[in-house]
């Protein structure tokens, strides 16, 4: 997706979008009806086709990497719906991700902004211990922390109402899961193999109960679960914010860490992490041996992908009576192409009635920090989703990604809707006998 040599036109040489990737777009427009920002604005430059055309113009030196190009790179939700829709195989979202990193080369932040961004991306996120000890999320609640963030919020280019929203979105926090989880959880029943579990940062900090269930389910399904405690952030926030260097360093670390473990599969229950981990091959091209990258990639699975592949042992599952509807996380259905498997699992849980919503694979408007940066637009995207949820009349809204879970829980609460949001693994966990 990016290259650092050859023709890059008005891009800076490091991490320029590959020219072939932008040339691939034949401008048919199949992406247009799938793009949330085009649906909001009707403006061509805020569409995947328009964004790729802007990138091409920069590469062909018809356009400088202007402020507007930067703006479009960050206004893109990176939901990847356009990639799913594109018959030609163009990945506009990834081109924009690369352009975000270009933006930081071209438009360096001021000193305060830079140090704040570096503090989050390069010091906090890469370091699980620091992240847990600092209890960064909890600090959002604290007067001191909030004031500090408000003073520095311009650095992350957050919207005017982001703080209220961020505070409102925060779930009731339990203690982080990482220190509690044993390194090895043994399989129950007939053993089927050994799985390495990639525990994501947001999962351990905000949704420990989800990942606790994931490990429980894997064990119940006959897998030893190995959770390497040293694992670092997958790099997704860095890719999203355009810090590809830190993302690469994290990726190299995780790659080696997981390849050292004797596991047949590497599984995650966070769609955002899964998408980033599956991007390592491209991200680390030329920086790690091809064989290692291919081996790592061949072991990687999202949890629903994994369970559907090995087959769910359903004989002991207990009944969970509920009507549910399923929201597809962009980073699961579009970035990883996983749509069928979560539904298959849902249908295998005794007592569950799945009611499909319209536009299940349309973004919820969370999209990492997008929902905070563009809070007004995010609300519009969210409203569209909530209307589709309401139309199903389902009791539970099931999803499979913490970003969606935060946004949707908050949205439902604000809208006074009765549905609870649960991760697919929480729901499946309820069917697992203790």
């Amino acid at each position: 997706m990016s290259h650092t040599d050859g023709t890059h036109g008005n891009f800076t040489a490091q991490d320029a979008p590959a020219y072939e990737d932008v040339l691939q777009c034949m401008r048919c427009g199949f992406c247009l009806p799938t793009c949330p920002t085009y649906a909001l604005t009707g403006r061509e430059r805020s569409s995947p086709r328009g964004r790729v055309a802007l990138a091409r113009a920069v590469a062909e030196q018809q356009l400088e990497f202007t402020g507007a190009v930067k703006e479009e790179a960050f206004f893109c939700l990176d939901c990847r719906a356009c990639a799913t829709a594109c018959p030609s195989g163009v990945r506009a979202g990834e081109v924009m991700e690369v352009c975000r990193s270009q933006a930081h080369h071209k438009y360096p932040l001021g000193h305060v902004g830079k140090s704040f961004r570096e503090f989050i991306l390069q010091r906090m996120l890469p370091n699980p211990d620091l992240l847990e000890k600092s209890t960064l999320p909890a600090r959002l609640y604290q007067r001191f922390g909030i004031q500090w963030l408000v003073r520095h919020s311009r650095a992350l280019k957050l919207g005017p109402t982001w703080l209220e929203k961020a505070a409102g979105m925060m779930p009731d926090l339990e203690a982080p899961l990482r220190p509690q989880l044993p390194v090895v959880t043994l399989a129950r029943g007939e053993k089927r193999g050994r799985v390495g579990f990639f525990l994501g940062c947001v999962m351990t900090l905000m949704y420990p109960n989800v990942s606790r269930n994931t490990v429980k389910i894997l064990a119940h399904q006959g897998f030893d679960v190995l959770t390497p405690k040293d694992a670092k952030c997958c790099g997704a926030p860095h890719l999203s914010e355009g810090d590809r260097d830190t993302a690469r360093a994290l990726a190299l670390f995780n790659l080696d860490l997981f390849l050292q473990q004797e596991v047949e599969w590497i599984v995650t229950d966070c769609a955002g992490c899964g998408a980033a981990l599956k991007q390592y091959e491209e991200l680390l091209e030329g920086q790690a041996e091809y064989e290692k990258l291919a081996r790592f990639r061949s072991k990687l699975r999202d949890i629903s992908e994994f369970l559907a592949e090995v087959g769910l042992r359903t004989d002991e599952l207990q009944e969970v009576t509920a009507t549910v509807t399923y929201h597809e996380p962009c980073h699961l259905c579009h970035a990883q192409g996983i749509s069928r498997q979560p539904r298959e699992l849902l249908k295998q849980i005794p007592g569950i009635e799945l009611r499909e919503m319209n536009e299940a694979s349309w973004c919820c408007g969370s999209a990492a920090t997008w929902g905070l940066k563009y809070s007004r637009e995010s609300q519009q995207v969210l409203d569209r989703k909530l209307a589709n949820v309401a139309a199903t009349g389902a009791q539970l809204l099931v999803t499979a990604n913490p970003g969606c879970q935060l946004q949707l829980s908050w949205g439902l609460r604000e809208a006074g809707m009765p549905q609870q949001v649960v991760h697919l693994m929480e729901l499946l966990g309820r069917a697992i006998p203790t």
Binding site: R45, T66, A68, P87
Partner: protein, 476 residues
């Protein structure tokens, strides 16, 4: 673009409906036609007929060219601002105004997406048949301007056959409604028919009233595989000769099958030379009878395999897969030069043979797909616009092919329009005299030549070769 002019437009249309930044203009300078790009001076997004009128008034005063644009999915450069000026983006005029169940009509603003109209009418148990490959994206106004066809053209006809009335703004400043809901109407010249397919050169359409019909009660969908594309061509001719008019009879050759399968992954046969997607629809008894005949003909010509779609969902998936053909071909090469040759249906097998011969002669990679049932093929050269030698060979390929197509009584454009890309071929088909008449009509509507200038024919001489700046890029 002067600041005063932009301010004036912003005041009339609303600030958010006027774009003049270079990034906006840059992405409104193309459609889906490869290699064509021209910058407009300003772009406006009117939200009503009156605002279209207001924007056009200003353009007239300033002598700016006026170029209408829907979703920019056209394939002949119709919405590209070849001479700069003002691009009129109609995609924010996207309301369906009425579905009249007593008169079986629907009225919609020009920016309504074709598939949205189809779905809205289907919800009321009615049927709007025209279904261009880009129906998910294309606008109704664009369909009317280009007289778009589609997969169902064979049995149900094309956009023109459904247009009952048009509301448009003419260059002289009049707002005109032509046609109506009456089934019969011979009052004077049929302006509506002149406007359909006029590619934005005569007037700007803001509202469209279309005819609706009851949907077919039953359908059957076949997928037939062939180890020689000419046999597929012969099968099509034989089905038509047997007096069966399927609703759809689509062809894909091996290159297309493989590209589409790379994208949709539904198990299309990668080894086969061609496949036909055939759908018969109508009353259940008739469908059963026609399906039997189609199957018998497919067996008689020795189709390698014949499959029947098991349900509507599978049939829908197959049609959707076919609709991705052009874009999927773009997987193979950076540039896809698509053509729109249409021949009398009895000449299909010969046309495939000719395409094969020319492909070999000019050492090109060509993927062919199209609406075999109405003789409308899309031979697509898969090339790289940076390779000028290859582009010249592609040009020669189309030159030879069109000479043969015209000799057989075919047309240079079945459904994509002339636009910028095929001006030279038009003169070959309709002759200098034909082009002169078209120009006189154009002059009568638009004496200043401000409406979509440079399209269909050149102002100065109908027979000159066109658009030198795109010479290496476009098959024309």
């Amino acid at each position: 673009m002067s600041r005063a002019l932009v301010a004036n437009l912003q005041q009339l249309l609303g600030r958010e409906n006027v774009c003049h930044e270079q990034e906006d203009l840059l992405v409104l300078g193309y459609d889906s036609t490869p290699g064509i790009h021209h910058l407009p001076d300003v772009a406006v997004y009117p939200t009503s007929t009156e605002k279209v009128w207001a924007a056009m008034e200003i353009a007239q005063q300033e002598g700016l060219a006026i170029v209408p644009r829907g979703s920019g999915s056209g394939l002949s450069g119709g919405s590209v601002p070849a001479k700069g000026g003002m691009v009129l983006c109609l995609n924010r005029m996207n309301r369906i105004l009425e579905i009249d169940e007593e008169n079986l009509t629907a009225t919609a603003q020009a920016g309504v997406i074709t598939l949205d109209l189809f779905n809205a009418t289907a919800a009321k148990g009615l049927f709007y048949p025209p279904d261009p490959g880009s129906q998910k994206i294309s606008t109704l106004g664009g369909n009317v301007m280009e007289d778009a066809g589609g997969l169902r053209g064979l049995k149900y006809g094309v956009t023109r056959d459904y247009v009952m009335a048009l509301k448009c703004v003419l260059p002289d400043g009049s707002i005109l409604t032509t046609g109506g809901k009456s089934v019969k109407d011979v009052a004077g010249y049929s302006f509506k028919d002149l406007l359909v397919g006029s590619e934005g050169t005569l007037g700007i359409i803001t509202e469209v009233t279309v005819k609706l019909i009851p949907p077919p009660k039953a359908k059957r969908t076949f997928l037939a595989y062939f180890d020689d594309i000419r046999i597929a061509g012969a099968a099509v001719s034989k089905i038509i000769a047997a007096k069966i008019i399927p609703s759809t009879m689509e062809i894909m050759d091996k290159a297309t099958i493989n590209c589409v399968e790379d994208y949709v992954k539904i198990g299309l046969p990668r080894q086969m030379a061609a496949l036909l997607l055939i759908e018969v629809d109508g009353h259940p008894a008739m469908v059963a009878e026609e399906a039997d005949s189609v199957e018998a003909i497919l067996k008689a010509v020795k189709a390698t395999e014949i499959h029947v779609a098991k349900d509507a969902e599978e049939a829908g998936r197959l049609a959707a897969a076919r609709r991705t053909a052009l874009s999927a071909l773009a997987r193979v090469s950076p540039t896809t030069l698509l053509e729109d040759a249409t021949v009398p249906r009895s000449m299909l097998a010969e046309t495939f043979a000719e395409i094969e011969r020319l492909t070999a002669r000019y050492r090109l990679k060509v993927g062919t797909f199209g609406h075999a049932g109405d003789g409308n093929l899309h031979p697509t050269v898969l090339c790289d616009e940076r390779n000028s030698d290859e582009m010249q060979r592609a040009h020669a390929f189309y030159d030879d092919l069109y000479a043969q197509v015209l000799a057989w009584g075919g047309t240079v454009s079945g459904e994509h329009g002339i636009g910028l890309a095929k001006k030279e071929y038009l003169a070959r088909q309709v002759g200098t005299g034909g082009v002169k008449v078209m120009k006189r009509i154009k002059d009568a509507f638009d004496p200043k030549g401000l409406l979509n200038p440079g399209k269909i024919f050149d102002e100065h001489d109908p027979c000159t070769k066109t658009h030198v700046e795109e010479d290496s890029l476009v098959s024309h």
